[in-house]
């Protein structure tokens, strides 16, 4: 059905009415058309937006767009939307649509109009004639009529709207479904696109929680970054960070449920992110704030006045303080940047009362609750200082605050308040009770040491041991930590007669008043006045031979020469760690050591002279005495001559203070020392001609004194004559003493005994025997004791040797072998059997090998079934083995095959092939390992591979603990010598002397634990006692030391060790007895003596309390009590 009404239904109107109606209709159509266009534009925009959003959101869910992609896509989308809106929505609204355009559109879309509307519009406009006007009016009427009937409804083309509308609907529905069905994904995408420049983590299986994220730290601080994973835990995480050096990727460690990474000591800002699994965190920033650093610390220590020591200043970063208690310490710091404040804090050591052990400063557990604090004074923009007095151990901290309020890194150093230990004194000569004739002066040499400086040394004398008087006194300037001083006791001046005796000791002081009267006192000895030489109780130790004493002097002088050698090459520019002050102190210590050595050489020479000066009763006759007298004369001359000169030069060296002056002075000293050594050596081997030349040597002017040469020549001539007589007598004497070998001991006469006594070895030999140097086991490489095979038979070949002409006088040679010239054979088997022979000269070589620089695998070769030995009469004697002949322990171990042959001598290489021979030289004193048959006794710790032992003598070896194990098997020991030198290892043989201390068996260990508990109880009681004595001001004497020893013993017992227990016990008991005596003495002073009064007097005294005071004493009593009350 058509909408167009028929023509005859149209109602005519006036032309203007018709046109107005038509215009209304056109306008209406126009509005609807615009609306349709806008609607279509909106549909299109909606569809496009929906599509874009879907694509972006879904794409982001899958591909996790980076921020720039999201930002740009969002921007592009917005721009696109805006443009689209402008074109599709806005433009239609503002588009100019005239009547003609609208009419044409209407004609096109509405059927039945048949161009009537367009014609009407056009005819209305054009300039028409009358006829044309009529036609136009007719057309207009028709158009108007139709317009009245036809509504200007939807401009048709619904497809243009339908399609985009449908698309928009579909996409909207899809979007909605996406939002409803996948809310998480949708929400995530929405959040990520809403503000795409902000970090919103994408949807991932793994999620990361980063701590601390962005952070601010101080420079040089570290920061731990943790990435705690959620969801799917990835296998690894990587941290990607960028600083001024560039970008780096590092794996993170997984600890405690999170991935961690530590930024250590950051110096600049860092940006980082964490990647783990499919998760990537955002970028974080660590900002590093600058802080001040303390670049230098100056310490000035001003010691207590009584020490008399100059202040010491040290500068640098080493800030530990060690000084005597009471020292005033000034600290000055300088920062690398301006500071506004600086604080000094002191943390005392926990439980510290008296200063602690002086061994190591340990402030690892300071008592922070008792910390003291001082605000340091600022001096300038970057400096600050403070001052404090050293009282306790602990630690101090300096913290500077920068202008921005950032603190400096805490600078913590230890503080050790060293106690000023009492000085120690020891009488070194003679160091025993003695008796002398009344007309003889008695020398007393004492050695005084103190940790800071000996100030006084006094010789104390007493008749009864209670009242002491000062016999002689010496004072010293500050700084001398060790010195030897000589006194003399003159019985005549003291009025001592035969039969009387006197007690003597030496006391030293360090300037500090001490309550303990025994502080710094030596052991007390007794000096008796005897009638004649027969009553002189000179112990065996005094009978050391002159020659042994001279050897000892040579050794001492050589040591002093070595010290001077080092000083002659002293350099301040050496690369040691110590600063200039430390270097200076080292120089001072070394110079003082040289002075001490030279003083000791001189004093010991004088003592040696004095000891041997009186004519001894010898069966060897006047000739021997003459030689001895000559030697004594030479020694006396040297003591006053070269040795005195050497001491003066050493003293001058001590005062040089470094540089060329020190080196030159040391060189001069060495020249004199060399002369002394040569002369002493010449004395030992001197024949009469040499001795004569020594005596006849013209003395140079020494210290401004000249010697009477005529007198010296006359003396020499007398001595030469006596020496000639001595030669004849010597022959007779040797015959006489040889006869004693066959005489039974019980038949010895007094003369025989005197002769034997004269020839006896002195205590110097035993002192040498007991002298335990630092053990050299650290040098010896570990030895394999696996092969327990032993040789069944030993062929001993005894040889007589024709000695070389210079067998006994060959000059000692030190073979110092550096690593370049050392080598090992490391033989796997024995194939070579070189001929071996005995030595025809004494040991004159000192082997001194440099330690190896690498480890070697030494094979264990199969040994022959029978070992051969080569033995000869000893050419050496223990006496003649001086220090310069003893080989030095080395770390070389070898399996020698081809190299084992020819001369049999001692050496420093331990050998595993058991090719050694006994030989005819005395073993040296070095430690040696390896495998061997019996040989001579010495310091060996290797494996014994022989079945039998017969005892071949050797060195007297000290007992010591060696690393060799205790092996199975037993040696058939047929030796009869009393052998010492247990080591705790090896194989069992016969019975011997007291064995070695070592780890205790379990049963003993249990008992030791119980004993340790008892020891602990005793220590507790001793500590209580010590406290009580302190409180009541009783002398404590050696009680603190005893407590320390007992504590150590308790620890040793708990650990199953019993080392040196007997010595410790003696020391402890001695100290306790001393304390007991001291307390008794004090108690007797404090004791109320009233109890000794008669009862009547005591009653009177007690009753007097209730009586009135006498009148004339009233004022006095009143003042007395008044003073008492006011003094509180």
């Amino acid at each position: 059905m058509s909408d167009i009404p028929p023509k005859d239904a149209l109602k005519p109107g006036t032309p203007s009415e018709n046109y107005a109606a038509l215009e209304d209709w056109i306008a209406s159509f126009r509005r609807r058309w615009r609306g349709a266009m806008c609607l279509r534009g909106i549909m299109v925009l909606a569809a496009a937006s929906g599509l874009v959003c879907l694509i972006l959101f879904a794409g982001d869910n899958v591909a996790r767009f980076p921020a720039w992609v999201r930002t740009s896509s969002l921007a592009a989308s917005v721009i696109m939307f805006a443009c689209g809106a402008a074109v599709l929505v806005v433009k239609p609204l503002i588009l100019k649509l005239n009547n003609e355009i609208v009419a044409a559109r209407a004609e096109k879309l509405i059927p039945g109009l048949e161009n009537s509307v367009i014609n009407a519009v056009q005819f209305h406009k054009a300039g028409l004639s009358a006829l044309e006007r009529d036609l136009a009016d007719a057309q207009l009427s028709e158009a108007a009529a139709r317009a009245r009937e036809i509504r200007p409804r939807n401009p048709g083309d619904w497809r243009a709207i339908r399609k985009p509308g449908l698309a928009a609907l579909v996409l909207s529905a899809t979007f909605l479904a996406y939002a409803i069905l996948l809310p998480r994904a949708f929400g995530n995408a929405w959040a990520r696109f809403w503000m795409p420049w902000k970090y919103v983590p994408p949807l991932t299986d793994t999620r990361l929680e980063i701590t601390p994220g962005d952070a601010e730290i101080l420079i040089a601080e570290s920061l731990l970054v943790e990435a705690a994973p959620r969801g799917v835990i990835p296998e690894q995480a990587t941290i990607v960070f960028k600083d001024q050096r560039g970008e780096k990727r590092e794996k993170m460690a997984f600890e405690g449920g999170a991935f961690v990474f530590q930024f250590a000591a950051l110096a600049s800002d860092v940006r980082y992110r964490v990647e783990a699994g499919d998760a990537v965190s955002r970028n974080y920033t660590i900002k590093v704030k600058p802080r001040p650093f303390i670049e230098s610390l100056k310490i000035l220590c001003e010691f207590p006045d009584y020490l008399g020591l100059p202040p010491i200043e040290q500068e640098g970063r080493g800030g530990d303080i060690q000084a005597v208690t009471g020292t005033k310490v000034s600290l000055s710091i300088r920062s690398d940047s301006p500071i506004r404040a600086a604080v000094w804090r002191f943390f005392p050591e926990r439980g510290a009362g008296d200063p602690g052990s002086p061994d190591v400063a340990d402030a690892s557990a300071p008592a922070t609750d008792n910390a003291e604090e001082i605000l340091m004074e600022l001096a300038g923009e970057r400096e600050a200082s403070c001052r404090f007095e050293l009282r306790r151990n602990g630690a101090y901290q300096i913290e500077a605050t920068g202008k921005a309020g950032t603190p400096s890194p805490p600078l913590i150093h230890s503080v050790l308040a060293l106690p000023d230990n009492p000085p120690r004194c020891e009488i070194v000569l003679p160091g025993r009770d003695a008796s002398i004739p009344p007309d003889q002066k008695f020398p007393v040499h004492a050695r005084a040491t103190d940790d800071y400086g000996v100030r006084t040394v006094e010789l104390l004398l007493s008749d009864d041991g209670k009242q002491w008087r000062v016999g002689d006194s010496r004072s010293f300037p500050p700084g001398g930590r060790a010195l030897t001083e000589a006194f003399e006791i003159d019985p005549a001046s003291l009025g001592l007669e035969i039969g009387q005796n006197i007690l003597y000791c030496v006391r030293t002081g360090d300037g500090l008043e001490r309550q303990d009267e025994n502080a710094g006192r030596s052991i007390v000895y007794r000096l008796s006045i005897a009638s004649d030489k027969a009553d002189q109780k000179i112990s065996d130790s005094d009978m050391e031979s002159l020659e042994t004493g001279i050897r000892r002097l040579i050794k001492k002088q050589t040591e002093a020469q070595d010290k001077a050698l080092i000083l002659s090459k002293w350099s301040e520019k050496d690369g040691a760690e110590t600063d200039a002050a430390g270097k200076q102190e080292l120089l001072a210590d070394r110079c003082a050591a040289v002075v001490l050595e030279q003083s000791s050489v001189r004093d010991e020479t004088r003592a040696l002279v004095q000891r041997h000066a009186p004519a001894s009763e010898s069966a060897k006759g006047a000739a021997l005495e003459a030689r001895k007298s000559a030697m004594i004369q030479v020694l006396a001359g040297m003591a006053d001559g070269e040795m005195e000169d050497a001491w003066r030069k050493a003293d001058a060296l001590r005062k040089t203070g470094g540089g060329d002056a020190t080196r030159n002075a040391a060189g001069e000293l060495m020249a004199v020392q060399k002369t002394i050594i040569e002369k002493l050596k010449a004395l030992l081997g001197a024949e009469e001609d040499a001795l004569a030349s020594l005596l006849a040597a013209k003395k140079e002017e020494i210290g401004g004194e000249t010697v009477d040469r005529d007198a010296a020549r006359k003396l020499a001539e007398e001595l030469l004559q006596k020496i000639a007589e001595y030669k004849e007598e010597q022959k007779k004497t040797f015959e006489a003493t040889r006869a004693l070998e066959k005489k039974p001991v019980e038949d010895f006469t007094e003369a025989d005994l005197a002769a034997i006594k004269e020839a006896q070895q002195t205590e110097a030999k035993w002192a040498k025997y007991f002298e335990e140097k630092v053990t050299d086991f650290s040098k010896l490489p570990p030895q394999d004791f696996a092969d327990s095979a032993v040789a069944k038979e030993l062929f001993e070949i005894w040889c007589e040797v024709k000695l070389a002409e210079d067998a006994f006088t060959r000059k000692t040679v030190e073979m110092a072998v550096p690593h370049e010239q050392s080598g090992l054979e490391l033989a796997e088997s024995l194939e070579t059997n070189l001929e071996k022979w005995l030595m025809d000269v004494k040991d004159f070589q000192k082997w001194n090998m440099e330690e190896p620089t690498q480890d070697y695998d030494v094979p264990i070769v199969d040994l022959p079934d029978e070992l051969e030995d080569l033995i000869g009469e000893l050419l050496d004697s223990e006496e003649s083995m001086t220090e310069d002949l003893e080989d030095v322990t080395s770390g070389w171990m070898d399996s020698i095959d081809k190299g084992a042959g020819w001369g049999t001598m001692d050496g420093p290489i331990s050998n595993m092939s058991a090719q050694g021979k006994t030989g005819n030289l005395l073993p040296n004193q070095q430690e040696i390992g390896g495998r061997s048959g019996e040989g001579r006794s010495g310091k060996s710790s290797g494996q014994f591979v022989e079945e039998t032992a017969t005892g071949k003598g050797g060195r007297d070896t000290p007992t010591r603990l060696t690393p060799d194990p205790f092996e199975e098997g037993r040696v058939q020991d047929t030796s009869t010598d009393p052998v010492s030198g247990s080591t705790g290892g090896g194989r069992a043989s016969g019975d011997g002397q007291e064995g070695l201390r070592g780890p205790a068996p379990p049963q003993v260990a249990e008992q030791l634990v119980r004993l340790a508990q008892k020891q602990a109880e005793i220590v507790n009681k001793a500590e209580s006692l010590d406290h009580g004595l302190k409180v009541y001001r009783y002398p404590r004497g050696g009680l603190p030391q005893a407590i320390g020893e007992m504590r150590q013993t308790e620890e040793d017992m708990k650990a199953g060790r019993l080392r040196d227990y007997s010595r410790t016990q003696k020391v402890v008991l001695g100290n306790l007895r001393e304390v007991k005596d001291a307390v008794e003495r004090q108690k007797s002073v404090n004791r109320d003596t009233g109890s000794a009064l008669p009862k009547q007097m005591r009653t009177e005294i007690v009753n007097s309390l209730s009586e009135k005071a006498p009148e004339k004493y009233k004022d006095m009593l009143g003042d007395y009590y008044k003073a008492l009350t006011e003094s509180r």
Binding site: E315, P818, R1059
Partner: protein
């Protein structure tokens, strides 16, 4: 110092997802922890293991070496003597190196190389020892014989020997000589499913001058290992776990800082002058090849002190022309009452100077970053980067 601050940018995810995630996390965290509690090994028992003898006999119980000492072992490949605690190993294997019926012999005559065989034969066997590590490594070498104690149930303790060489008596056969052929440890800290990684170290060093050598000094067993240059990094592999100090030697300096167990400040504690004097006095008395020996750097306590020792000898050696021999070693000391004892000597470097050559000693630069470096089971790969600074006098 570590700071822990919450990160406020947590994404607002759906509640259900968070709940599910939380439950999963809960299960993830707690279940393994519960499992660990049930399986954690006891740590206060001695090393438990099984010893297998060559004759098939086995012993199971607590295994130790006398005095709890480490095994002294010579690594054939590295040509180095190592101290290996048993607790570091998963097992030992004795591998026969040589075995034969050797014949007793004597020399024909002194000076003649001819051997006379006696006709008596005895068994001899020598061994390699393979050290087995939990990570599967095997190191072959020779052992310095040690006594192995096996404490079986019932308290009975048996003594066995780990030897390099075994010698029998005449009349015995090789089969008569039983030996420890295998030792397997249990519960030495490494679980089979998570084998321990061998210790290693990589050190990147920025130095103002040429580096000569880099060492790693282990504290626990006092062993020293040299790090080799690989590209730009100094590396060492197969290191035992422990605490290390790195020592760097350059043309003019040593850079190092010895670690002390309770050195929380990371600074070497000062040694009282009386102890330093005692130490140097002891060194003088040792009677060494060198005329002077000084401690130029140290750390520790009287129980254990480590010192860098500068030793010098001015000429007078058998090496022609050598005017000065200078050597650096690390000595390990301890103090017994009043006397210092040297426990170990570890060689670092030495130089020989001839006439006309300059010979300044190395400066010592304490460098904290090189001290107390830990290589543990949890962190077996040590990687550090350090910049060396030559400190002038008075400079921090």
């Amino acid at each position: 110092m570590n700071r822990r601050m919450r990160n406020e940018n947590t994404a607002p995810f759906a509640t259900s997802g968070m709940i599910i995630g939380f439950i999963a996390l809960f299960a993830f965290v707690l279940l393994p922890a519960v499992a660990d509690e049930e399986q954690s090994p006891e740590t206060d028992h001695p090393l438990i293991g099984k010893v297998t003898m060559s004759n098939g006999e086995t012993l199971t119980g607590g295994i130790s070496i006398s005095g709890e000492n480490p095994l002294v072992f010579y690594d054939i490949e590295r040509k180095k003597r190592l101290l290996v605690p048993l607790a570091d190993l998963s097992g030992l294997r004795a591998v026969v190196e040589r075995e034969e019926m050797a014949e007793k012999w004597v020399w024909k005559e002194e000076g003649f190389h001819e051997k006379i065989m006696t006709g008596e034969k005895y068994p001899v066997r020598t061994f390699f020892l393979d050290l087995l590590y939990p990570d599967g490594r095997k190191v072959r070498g020779h052992v310095i014989s040690a006594t192995l104690y096996v404490e079986v149930e019932g308290g009975e303790r048996q003594k066995l020997k780990l030897v390099r060489k075994q010698t029998g008596e005449v009349g015995q056969e090789l089969k008569d000589l039983a030996y420890v052929s295998a030792v397997d440890f249990e519960g030495n800290g490494a679980k089979p499913e998570t084998p321990a990684t061998p210790g290693s170290a990589s050190i990147r060093i920025k130095s103002p001058e040429k580096i000569l050598k880099v060492w790693l000094l282990q504290y626990e067993q006092d062993q020293i290992f040299e790090a080799a240059l690989q590209g730009e990094i100094y590396a060492a592999a197969n290191l035992p776990y422990g605490t290390y100090d790195a020592i760097v030697e350059t043309e003019s300096s040593f850079f190092l800082q010895f670690w002390k167990p309770d050195g929380s400040r990371g600074k070497a504690a000062a040694l009282a002058p009386v102890n330093m004097a005692g130490l140097e006095e002891m060194l003088k008395q040792v009677g060494d090849f060198f005329q002077t020996q000084r401690v130029v750097h140290w750390a520790g306590s009287p129980e254990k002190m480590r010192g860098l020792i500068l030793s010098e000898r001015l000429g007078d050696t058998t090496l022609p022309g050598a005017e000065l021999i200078r050597r650096y070693d690390v000595f390990v000391f301890h103090k017994v009452e009043t006397e210092w004892k040297i426990d170990r000597r570890l060689f670092l470097s030495r130089n020989v100077f001839y006439k006309g050559e300059s010979s300044p000693a190395r400066k010592i630069n304490p460098t904290r970053e090189l001290s107390g470096l830990k290589i543990t089971g949890e962190n077996p790969k040590l990687e550090i980067e350090v910049s060396l600074i030559i400190r002038r006098e008075g400079q921090p």
